[in-house]
Amino acid sequence: MSRQKLLEFAFPAFALAMALAAWEAAVRWFAIPPFILPAPSLIATTLIKDWGTLSLSLMVTLTITLEALALAVVGGVALAILFAQWRIVERAFFPFAVVMQVTPIVAIAPLLLIYLSPNAAVLVCAFLVAFFPILANTTLGLSSADHNLLDLFELCRATRWQQLLLLRLPSALPYFLGGLRIGGGLALIGAIVAEIAAGSAGQGAGLAYRIVESGFRLNIPRMFAALFLISATGIAIYLALTALSYLLLRHWHDSARGRET
């Protein structure tokens, strides 16, 4: 088993190493200048050399992404609970949520930049894109409680509150976690898109701003270094949320269970 595990990790790692080596070799072989395509080794050294600036930008983007995600979780779950408790509220407000979802965030960003400070505008953009998947999934989850269990709660004369706490919320948990994983990735995308829209006008010094700025200076290796950090952040968020999902569901949900083969 452990040997099989080792192979499972070894193969993707090997493939990644080969791809990077091919990239490095191609740049050296064809003598591609760094302002067109920098070699991975140059990107790595730039990452280390510019770590001071880049790490500050990373912290800015990461903070905004996580704040937006936290707000989206609180807002999405709270609204989903309101929807589940009062169907009429869902009828009234779901269209708004859909409108917010289908309108591309890049189109709203310039408007938000007029109304709000650049930092607040970026936060709101990231929040808006992360909010909907969490709301939609949690709403679905809350109404997916087993009907027989709902009957049982009624027979036991459970209060609405007990029904929510002991039945609807646990039933909704796998759905919520699915929405959270989508929302986590989208919050980062929303933050980056808004930072780009804010552009040099923004006082924010996030990673997207760093990319735009480095582009103006034709500092292509730094653009790549910033891009690498964005990807790494996205992967880290996804892995963290997947781990959270596993921890919460491992005892009972089929998604977190290994199948006997």
Binding site: D146, N148, D151, L152, E154, L155, C156, L167, H251, W252
Partner: protein, 290 residues
């Protein structure tokens, strides 16, 4: 409607003829615990689930409702439990409605909590703390033979064991009446036989009244003190069969001639309820064709 009237009258009329003075529904030792009188149930989609149901359940009885799919067996349980109310007619409990336990067709456990928490649930909803409930939960688990499984999650259990947890959950409030809706229908024959044995023992130990829905003739005869045979479209009771073998029953009863005879009698009643020719007639026609 006239048709259903004429169909259900023969059931009572015989008893009326024999003992016109006494009420036919009440035996002196056990008055009716709950009575359904002229109960109709029409669903929102216009389907008539029940028409003119007359049913008494006496204290300490094990009543089986036996019939084909769509005869409204489960609807009667839902009416008794108060989950739904009759369109017409009345359900009258003798005194206050007692504590009820309900066992569903599926185990209907919460997969996110342990066996203990599942059995604790009805008490928890009534405001009993975990510590206070613990002895009663243990007792209920012991009754269904799952003492060591309090910390297991439902997914770790077999289908039969999940059903046992479901029964333990129904028992934990010490109900006077147990309503069971085809609880063993999804189980294999061997598990089902074992659970039937255990249910008889459980019923004798508790002295509770049981209303049991099934579509198995053999199960109903083995378990019941009385079988109510139902017909479909519209759902109604068409025959009653008393099974008077003494109640702690075992394999001996299952292999006895009396059991076989009751099964035959019940099968005939069920065939009549479903407008099928009796099994004997079918066998003869089969011989004729070969």
């Amino acid at each position: 409607m006239d048709e259903t009237q004429s169909l259900r009258t023969p059931l009572m009329s015989l008893a009326d003829l024999i003992a016109p003075a006494a009420s036919p529904r009440e035996t002196p030792e056990a008055p009716a615990l709950v009575s359904l009188r002229g109960v109709d149930k029409v669903f929102a989609n216009g389907v008539t689930a029940l028409a003119g149901v007359e049913l008494d359940v006496r204290e300490g009885e094990f009543v089986s409702l036996l019939g084909p799919s769509g005869c409204g067996k489960s609807t009667i349980l839902r009416l008794l439990s108060g989950l739904t109310s009759p369109t017409r007619g009345a359900i009258a409990w003798r005194g206050r409605r007692p504590e009820l336990g309900f066992v569903f067709q599926e185990p209907t456990l919460t997969p996110w909590s342990t066996v203990f928490a599942n059995v604790w649930l009805p008490l928890r909803l009534a405001g009993v703390s975990r510590a206070q409930a613990a002895p009663r939960v243990e007792e209920a688990l012991e009754r269904v033979g799952l003492s060591g499984f309090a910390n297991a999650f439902p997914r770790e259990l077999s289908g039969g064991m999940k059903m046992r947890v479901s029964i333990a959950r129904a028992l934990v409030t010490r109900p006077a009446v147990l309503l069971m809706d085809e609880p063993f229908a999804a189980l294999d024959e061997i598990t089902r036989t074992k659970l039937n044995d255990d249910l008889v023992a459980l019923k004798c130990g508790l002295g509770a009244t049981v209303v049991f829905v099934t579509h198995s003739v053999y199960e109903s005869v083995y378990l019941s003190t009385r079988i109510v045979v139902m017909a479909a479209r519209p759902g109604r009771a068409v025959a009653e069969i008393a099974v008077d073998a003494p109640l702690p029953r075992n394999e001996e009863f299952r292999l006895s001639a009396a059991y076989a005879e009751k099964c035959r009698q019940t099968s005939l009643a069920l065939c009549a309820a479903m407008d099928l020719p009796p099994p004997g007639a079918r066998a003869r026609s089969g011989e004729a064709s070969t």
